[in-house]
Amino acid sequence: MSVDSSGNGRPERVGFFTDTSVCIGCKACEVACKEWNMVPEDGMDFTSMSFDNTGRLSADTWRHVAFVEQREPLGFQDPGVGRPGPVDLGMPAFELPGASTGAEERGDFRWLMSSDVCKHCTSAACLDVCPTGALFRTEFDTVVVQEDICNGCGYCVPACPYGVIDRREGDGRAWKCTLCYDRLGEGLEPACAKACPTESIQFGNLDELRERAEKRVEDLREAGVSSARLYGEDPANGVDGAGAFFLLLDEPEVYGLPPDPVVTTRDLPSMWRHAGVAAASLLVGAVAMFAGRR
């Protein structure tokens, strides 16, 4: 987990492995992130959908803990395909849990919790489309916004396939997770990983994290948790591998993650070609309009 030079004068690529199977939903990561990075409050709201009152990642939320409630047994889990969506558990009541339902339903409940964060993509759309160069790739292969350069054009917001980066109301600039760039330089781990009490958020050298994650998924599957799968770790995926990847217990969309995101700039050369042909057609068409009789 060293962030020192690896001999070639360049620090190793670092990232997060978020193992949601041990997340307890304490939101210490959200708090630590806000404290360290001095991120303003993101609205004191009750979403009324679950214990998740944060809602989503945004300019003022750089870590977001998702809470998914399912009528599924905790142990003896199944793969997670074709299962109905999250269930409404209703308001808290004074009766014993499960007293009103039959014995069969009792206990068929699991809570999935996952701490979401910027993926620090290898091919990052936000960075590609930024017209000012405010977004840049650091020596740790992370993606960071320079707030003294960003002019708030907002192009990165719809470019991000994960819905991470956002423009801050009243401030006008784009903000997102920096993977604690300031802490990395001092050899410290990011605030969220530091605060995580179960080490659900693991920080370190990306290759090492990938190995560890493979092992973890094997262990879980061997133990019968057949729905465990990694998300975003594959260097051959649509963003050429995420710098922050996850171990999930259900399909990504259940956690609010896109199932198969692709960096939009992959199609940009084709877009430019199509635009070039369209521009040429406009010119040729106009010439034809004048070539005719009066």
């Binding site: 199977s21 047994p73 489309v129 259940v254």
Partner: protein, 366 residues
């Protein structure tokens, strides 16, 4: 909370908690497991599902993407005025070369006015307008907005010189060169905004990238032709009329084709506010084209038809804009096509092979 320390060598005092196997079969007693297993089977719930369909799963129905932060009047106006300016310059250059000064002059003014408005709308939409010049810090071909800024920087002065020399009569040769220059750069101004909106994760924008430049170019031609019909006398507005009608017809065909060929991502173009704008655009454009043909001997009918075409072009851009925001709002536009792509990929590789990141089918376990 976490007592481990990151040191230069490694982490000291790792918490053992992360190795816990939660939710595993072992956690549950054998008796309980048997009961549950039987209970589940008796209920017979959960048919094996392999093919994703209209049913999709999401996080409380919340959008996956963050909503576009641009304002509709600003960016819709920016797209529309950019198109109007670019195509007007093309027509102005043609009119200049073929000796139609009464068509060239108003189009040059329209181009300058429109590009000024377009740039102003873009700057107004920035979160930090005073930092607009930061756009010129770099030239990035990966960012259509960066490329667009440089195109505007090239085109703006040409359109300005063209219009000012035309109004004052000074430096006619420089004016002519600027007019021709603006006419050459004009098509780029009218079309670069298509890659600009398509180079995003917004489903209804990205998935239309093969058609959007043609929609924008033809819509721009219709608008500029319409502007020519409004401003030029009948004896000189012939090419503008042909451009208007041609642009309108091509736009109607390409935008319908785009909506159809995009599949699910084309749906927002028929729904809600986007649908209303797209229908209005089509009605105005086709009515304008018909009016331009039928009323070709009437100055007033031509001007009204021209105005309808200009308004139709503005509606097209607003329709495209709102289709984008609507496709962000509903997670189905993000999830279903991606899920389908995954399933198709899995089928192509051969079923059952699946790596760790591919969810197994339910029946493989039971």
């Amino acid at each position: 909370m976490n007592r481990s320390e990151v040191t230069k060598e490694d982490v000291r005092g790792r918490t053992p908690g992360r190795d816990a196997i939660t939710g595993a079969a072992d956690v549950v007693g054998a008796e309980q497991r048997r009961q549950r297993g039987e209970g589940r089977r008796r209920k017979g719930r959960g048919e094996p599902t392999r093919v994703p369909d209209a049913e999709f799963r999401s996080y409380y129905g919340k959008p996956i993407l963050n909503q576009i932060v641009w304002e509709a009047p600003d960016i819709g106006g920016y797209l529309f005025l950019g198109g109007l300016a670019g195509a007007s310059s093309v027509l102005a250059a043609g009119a200049e070369l073929t000796g139609r000064p009464a068509l060239a002059r108003p189009l040059k003014y329209a181009a300058l006015g429109a590009i000024t408005g377009s740039t102003a709308a873009l700057i107004h939409d920035l979160g930090r307008p005073e930092r607009f010049l930061n756009m010129l810090r770099v030239f990035k071909p990966t960012s259509p907005m960066s490329v667009g800024s440089w195109i505007l920087l090239t085109y703006g002065p040409l359109a300005g010189v063209s219009a000012v020399t035309s109004a004052t009569g000074w430096f006619p040769r420089i004016g002519r060169a600027a007019t021709l220059g603006a006419g050459v750069v004009g098509p780029l101004v009218a079309t670069y905004t298509a890659p600009l909106v398509c180079d995003t994760a917004v489903p209804s924008w990205h998935d239309g990238y093969r058609y959007m430049p043609f929609v924008f170019a033809s819509s721009a031609a219709a608008a500029a032709g319409g502007m020519g019909l409004i401003t030029a006398p009948l004896d000189q507005s012939g090419p503008a009329r042909r451009a208007a009608v041609g642009g309108a017809l091509v736009e109607s065909v390409t935008s319908s084709t785009m909506e159809y060929r995009m599949g699910l991502s084309g749906e927002p173009y028929r729904r809600g506010r986007a649908g209303a704008f797209m229908r209005a655009a089509k009605a105005l454009t086709l009515a304008g084209a018909a009016g331009a043909v039928i009323g070709r001997h009437s100055r007033l009918a031509s001007a009204v038809s021209g105005a309808a075409l200009v308004a139709g072009s503005a509606c097209t851009r607003l329709g495209v804009f709102y289709a984008g925001t609507q496709s962000v709002e509903d997670p189905k536009y993000t999830v279903i096509p991606q899920r389908r792509r995954l399933e198709e990929g899995k089928a192509a590789r051969g079923e059952g092979e699946g790596g760790v990141s591919v969810p197994q089918a339910r029946d493989s376990q039971d």
